[in-house]
């Protein structure tokens, strides 16, 4: 498995999370994004490459400039990922509640 394509790996880095927040409201060029960070431009480019690889960011050519914008579908994937895990616990806790209600009425 290529870890760089894993969305969870992508959002594990604080700079990358900051980039996602930046472009959440409007599409930005690599230069405009880099201007918000103290880190070297190539480092920001590397982060942008990873975010693009895992499809959290989409590139759009506009004239000579490339704009990066957020891919909301991929962000939803992260939220959906946790859902079945939550369901597993929910099922278990529902069972606990049902079982304990029996004890409650027995009293």
């Amino acid at each position: 498995m290529n870890l760089r394509r894993d969305v969870f790996q992508a959002i594990a880095d604080p700079t990358r999370r900051a980039i996602l927040l930046l472009v959440a409201t409007h599409a930005m060029t690599a230069g405009a994004i880099a201007a918000n960070f103290d880190t070297a431009r190539p480092t920001v480019s590397k982060h942008l490459a990873i975010l693009t690889e895992c499809e959290l960011l989409k590139q759009e050519q506009n004239g000579r400039e490339i704009y990066y914008h957020l891919n909301p579908h991929k962000m939803k994937e992260i939220a959906d990922f946790i859902e079945p895990f939550r369901k597993m616990w929910d099922d278990r806790f529902n069972k606990l509640e049902d079982i304990m209600k029996k004890y409650q009425t027995k009293k």
Binding site: A12, P14, P84, F85, R86, W89, D91, K95, M100, K101
Partner: protein, 155 residues
Amino acid sequence: MELKTKVHAEEGKQELIVTREFDLPLELLFRAYTEPEILEEWMGTKVLKLENKKHGSWQFETTDPAGNKHGFSGTIHDFVPEERITRTFEMENSGFGVQLEFLEFEKLTEDTSKLRMHIIYKTLEERAQYLKIGMARGMGLAHNRLEKAAIKFKK
């Protein structure tokens, strides 16, 4: 529909917080964690050992549909009745590391209570792997229910 069980998994952190409110008095909720027979019923596991006390330990065993036995165990670091259980959790022979669990029980009203599970994994990767397993289990449970429902229709 309101979600009864909430999972909070902040990105970039190797921890997980699961909260749930129960339509049960605190005393009953706590008993579900301390009486082996009750625990076996709702967790679907066999309780080999359960020493709910400081310096105590616990050991569960489940058998999968193929007949393979899986061990789960840990030690109990803190135990305050109707308040909290602090313990470690390990899936034996799974390659997964040990995780630390803080279980906090809270009385909401005479008839309702709340459980907050704070789980800490060794690494970010382990949390992700654990979530993946949970996801497979969640899918499995949903599937089992579907199967049961389908059988009812057959009859």
